[in-house]
């Protein structure tokens, strides 16, 4: 046999650079990027269930997914058959594991009276039909939720193409535009109660494009596709972006340059009075960008400075310039000196105890951006346009900080890190680690994961990389199913004298199949049938890097051990699955007194890159009930 070498396909980035936004280029590219699992990973199966034809979206979706670094394998259900497809448990929707289900139902297709017939309806009748529409969609989502753990995105209503009452609409007791807003609010409220179901903001996509460019009467009439090719590309781009945000950890730190980024001009040359900030253009453009950055701070993004400047000049500018929106204290790390930016970024990551992949750089200087891209490929380098008028849009378009939900911890993150810095000062003055931990006066609370804690727990599962024994990214529905089948699932909060660190730890232990009934016959308390398991396997154990090195993990492990014991188990199994980043958790089970099971490397595992196979650890639980391990380092309270 003679092997014929086929030419290597061009790199993905090269193909994507050819995209010019025309339908022809999307179609050509969609073919060129088939079978790219080497670059994009296994394809994500995405189902589209809609009241209109969606097949035309295929090339747009495949290409936009590749631009967000994942491979999409779309499945298009026949239009208008949403309930039928969801309820057919043996049907094509469930033929292979589903990663994402997109549900798109237009009022025009299912409740036309609410659109062109709107003027003939009383307000009460319109609201009744609207409630029916929302109830129908949410019933579909719940039915899907019972059959699949897929994430779900539900389209809200875009603004209608025309207003039935025309010019008179704003004056109506119930305006059509208000009805659409009420519909979207009701949908969001009801979806919030369903695990892993989110709104897809089609309304926003249509608003950004404009309704005249969004709708396409000819495609609607000829192909049952209501949206223009441009709108199809925009909808696919937004779907891909939101899908990526569902299964990828966002960046955590926005690292900003100063000169010509946060203000115009060069501080060291122009002086405080000479930089452009506030007042008229161009100062107004930099103020506007600072307001955008402040909104990122408010939703939980940490801010840092990496600037080539004299630090004294910068502190003086922050103290004196009245045009600044961002304050000195808004930055949790500051690298202001004349060393290169890669060095600054490394220092920021080290100071905040984060990986380099948690950083995104925003710097107006293309030379600096190219340098960081080359030196630190893990760092997200945001493309910055020449004009400061485009800075805010560039930051938004990057998607570097995309989160599908915002939790209480997100809103309070900057304050949390500021108290971290106070902790660091205490650590610098304490004599030993134990002295420091005692001086922190930690109060640890631990409880069972429930509806109130699920969103934050799922967020931690999705984004914790370092102290994470298995890096299993369970979604909300999967986690609920594990709890329903007897898993012990705990959260941990850590407070100390500098403040509340929030919910920072998660541990999930599942009954280990095949370990038979326990030898002492203690009844399971978890509500499942059958004999109690002899062992629990710790499926996931993770902790935010914010509380690394505080021994809090031993409090959480102790709680798992006590509850496993109470459920009748006499052994715990710990797993460690090495990843590129989880070296900090490699020795956790050894430190906690577990012994390696046969086949587990006995040597220290600090160099996890050298370990190919996952490791399993074993800990026998004594017959007598375990009690909380005494510790003078923290106080532990089990609340539920």
């Amino acid at each position: 046999m003679i092997a014929v070498a086929s030419p290597a396909p061009p790199p993905l980035a090269e193909l994507l650079a050819e995209l010019d936004g025309t339908p022809a280029s999307y179609l050509r590219l969609a073919r060129g990027i088939e079978d790219r699992s080497a670059e994009l990973g296994a394809p994500r199966r995405i189902a589209l269930l809609a009241s209109f034809t969606t097949e035309l979206l295929a090339p747009y979706l495949v290409v936009e997914a590749a631009r967000r670094q994942f491979a999409a394998a779309p499945y298009f259900a026949p239009f208008g058959q949403i309930e039928q497809v969801i309820l057919d448990g043996a049907g094509p929707l469930y033929a292979a594991p589903l990663d994402l289900c997109v549900i798109a139902v237009r009022l025009e297709d299912t409740a036309p009276a609410l659109v062109d017939g709107f003027v003939g309806l009383s307000g009460d009748e319109a609201r009744r039909q609207l409630a029916e529409h929302v109830a129908r969609i949410c019933a579909c989502v719940r039915a899907l939720r019972q059959r699949s753990a897929a994430r779900v995105l539900v389209w809200n209503q875009p603004p209608p193409r025309r207003l039935a009452a025309g010019l008179a609409d704003p004056g109506l007791a119930l305006a059509q535009a208000t009805l659409v807003a009420e519909c979207n609010r009701a949908l969001a409220a009801e979806l919030a109660a369903i695990p892993d179901a989110y709104v897809f903001d089609a309304h926003r996509v249509a608003t950004e494009l404009g309704t005249a460019a969004f709708y396409d009467a000819k495609l609607a009439a000829l192909a049952r596709m209501p949206f223009s090719p441009r709108a199809q590309a925009a909808l696919a781009a937004q779907l891909a972006r939101q899908a990526a945000a569902l299964w990828r950890a966002p960046c955590k730190v926005l690292v900003l340059d100063l000169d010509n980024t946060l203000w115009g001009g060069v501080l060291g040359e122009d002086g405080i009075a000479g930089i452009a900030l506030g007042g008229d253009y161009p100062g107004s453009a930099f103020t506007a960008f600072q307001r955008v950055v402040a909104s990122y701070r408010d939703r939980g993004v940490l801010l840092a400075i990496a600037s080539k400047n004299n630090e004294a000049d910068v502190t003086e500018a922050f103290a004196q310039h009245t045009g600044l929106v961002l304050r000195w204290d808004d930055f949790v790390a500051r690298q202001i000196h004349w060393n290169d930016k890669a060095t600054s970024l490394r220092a920021i990551a080290a100071e905040l105890n984060l990986g380099l992949d948690a950083l995104a750089l925003f710097d107006d200087n293309p030379v600096e951006r190219a340098w960081v891209r080359r030196e630190l490929p893990e760092v997200t380098v945001i493309d910055v346009p020449a004009s400061p008028l485009g800075y805010g849009d560039a930051l938004d378009a990057s998607g570097a900080f995309d989160l599908v939900t915002i939790t209480r911890e997100d809103r309070e993150r900057t304050r949390l890190y500021q108290s971290d810095q106070a902790r660091q000062r205490l650590a610098d003055t304490a004599g030993s680690v134990d002295d420091f931990l005692r001086a922190l006066a930690m109060r640890i609370s631990i409880g069972a994961i429930g509806a109130d804690t699920l969103p934050r727990v799922v967020q931690l599962l999705a984004k914790t990389n370092q102290f994470n024994t298995t890096t299993r990214r369970h979604g909300q529905a999967e986690l609920e199913a594990m709890i329903a089948s007897g898993a012990i699932a705990l959260w941990m909060r850590v407070e100390d004298r500098f403040g509340d660190n929030g919910l920072v730890g998660v541990a999930i232990a599942v009954p280990e199949p095949g370990t038979g009934s326990n030898p002492v016959g203690v009844a399971m308390q978890t509500g499942t049938t059958g004999a109690a398991p002899a062992a629990f396997r710790i499926d996931s154990f993770l902790m935010s890097c914010r509380v690394l090195g505080r021994r809090a993990e031993h409090a959480l492990l102790g709680a798992i051990a006590r509850r496993a014991h109470a459920a009748g188990a006499r052994a715990l199994i710990g797993e460690f699955i090495p990843s590129k980043k989880n070296a900090p958790a490699a020795d956790f089970y050894r430190d906690a007194g577990f012994t390696p099971e046969p086949g587990t490397p006995a040597a220290g595992m600090a160099d996890v890159t050298a370990i190919a196979a996952p490791a399993r650890w074993h800990l026998a639980l004594p017959d007598r009930p375990a009690s909380a391990p005494p510790s003078d380092l923290f106080e532990v309270l089990e609340v539920s």
């Binding site: 022809a24 035309l56 000819k218 009439a221």
Partner: protein, 80 residues
């Protein structure tokens, strides 16, 4: 200039229907192109509308099943 329109039509067909450019001839017809199904017909027409910045009449949509028909339609729309 007509040659240029001809070349652009052939390029658009090649991209949308996944054909090597040389395989599309001045007389290529839908019947001889397996990929040219109803779904790709919609993609092809939207691609032609974007390429030449024209709006093709809905009455013409189903008739444009060959390179000569497409060229004639574009000529009627004033594409030179």
């Amino acid at each position: 200039m007509t040659d240029d329109v001809n070349a652009r039509v052939q390029r658009t067909l090649a991209k949308v229907l996944d054909l090597p450019p040389g395989q599309i001839r001045p007389d290529t017809h839908q019947k001889s192109v397996p990929n040219w199904d109803s779904l790709h017909h919609v993609h092809l027409l939207t691609a032609l509308e974007a390429e030449f910045t024209v709006s093709i009449d809905p009455e013409d949509w189903l008739e444009l099943t060959s390179v000569p028909a497409i060229l004639a339609c574009l000529a009627r729309l004033g594409v030179r």
